[in-house]
Symmetry: C2
Subunit: 216 residues, 2 copies
DNA sequence: CACGAACCGTACCGTACGGTACGTATATGG
DNA sequence: CCATATACGTACCGTACGGTACGGTTCGTG
């Protein structure tokens, strides 16, 4: 059974279309290109409507984050019988999805935007991005490694710690490098495989380790 | 023997003082506070001098990064006889230093600045920050794990891969979270210890593993 | 049809920034 | 003592942005 987890959209279809245009503008030209006049022009709406709907520029930015987060859906697989092989495969898929999400145009643009604003006092954009943007992927990963533990395939005392270890193994400094403008990996599949191998070597029980190659 | 690695400073003492003030301004108020007029006022110099010395605003930002990088010094320990215990200790110290550097006010402010500019075409700030800011710490880590390999304590085929694994284990998503405004860790020492334990479990030879606790 | 609400397009305002120009002071060197 | 270079402080300019106001248009509803 798969459970679809998504937020109900908080904005009208018209507003969603405007937010979509705003995101496109942000991806193409960066924050400097994201002016209220520019958004209004690109979305064929008036500035007055923008301010009526979103309050001010910060409200628009928050709405963009919320809208983008509402588009992301994950499927938590429950009740599936996990074996060492299927656990490995699921974690690899998770790792590749994670890398793909982090390398996405919109994700990078929104993270750059929030980071650029995070020095100002109480900008809340960073907090919003972390809560709304990562909750889905965090829940998916936690459910997966919890299932691995229940199936006797993984061994850890602190699930959060195990998850952060997996995250670090998968992403390393790649996210920051991409945020700084470096091109992404050429071979994400290999990176995902490497990370999962290391993760299972650290947290796998004998049932898992028995099926792994002896050397890294 | 310790080898001091540092860059010769490229600016006059007066210019360094101005850059120091600019960094302080950036740390305190973020990029928005870093105006040419503000820097001139804070540093008691004229805007004309700023433009004469650094060309334009981007030149000033680049100079700030170069200046900050020139202040960082690392000591590469060569020729030291490594044991399992001393390797462990050195890697832990490296991990704690890394976390401390990444959590520093100036580092976070400069990373935020470069990331905020990295969407604009050819802003080069991100590239500059990666090359100048990380070269020292990368070299120190590579020298350390290479020494570990030569001493028969570490086992890997690709040193770069091993280093990135260590980096990911130490930092995980902490850097991005801090860039987004989240407070840093309360206990960096524990995080460093955990990461190094995992790293040695993955890359340590039997000589190292024999001295480690059996369970995570 | 009539009325009102929502909305578009545009024009407008105040402000603040990047960058330039100018008059003055300080120091260095002959 | 003068000449030259360097740099300070201020004033200035053009531009562009966030935010507001207003007239005209569409559209749903009684």
């Amino acid at each position: 059974m798969s459970v679809d987890t998504a937020e109900p959209s908080e904005f009208s279809p018209r507003q969603n279309a405007v937010l979509e245009q705003a995101l496109q503008l942000l991806v193409d030209g960066g924050e400097k290109a994201l002016t209220t006049s520019g958004v209004a022009r690109a979305a064929n709406c008036s500035k007055e409507s923008l301010y009526k709907w979103f309050g001010d520029r910060d409200g628009l930015l928050s709405a963009m984050i919320a809208y983008q987060a509402s588009k992301v859906r994950t499927f938590e697989r429950n009740g599936e019988r996990l074996t060492a092989a299927s656990l490995h495969d699921h974690v690899v898929i998770f790792a590749r999805d994670l890398l793909e999400v982090l390398a996405g145009d919109v994700s990078l643009a929104l993270n750059r935007l929030a980071i650029g604003q995070s020095n100002r006092d109480g900008s809340k954009l960073g907090k919003l991005l972390l809560e709304r943007g990562r909750r889905q992927i965090d829940r998916r990963a936690m459910a997966l490694i919890d299932a691995g533990k229940r199936a006797g395939l993984l061994r850890f005392s602190d699930a959060d710690e195990a998850y952060h270890t997996l995250y670090g193994l998968v992403v390393s400094d790649l996210h920051v490098r991409m945020l700084l403008g470096e091109p992404g990996l050429k071979d994400t599949a290999r990176q995902a495989e490497r990370a999962v191998t290391a993760f299972l070597r650290l947290y796998g029980t004998d049932k898992v380790l028995a099926e792994m190659p002896v050397l890294g």
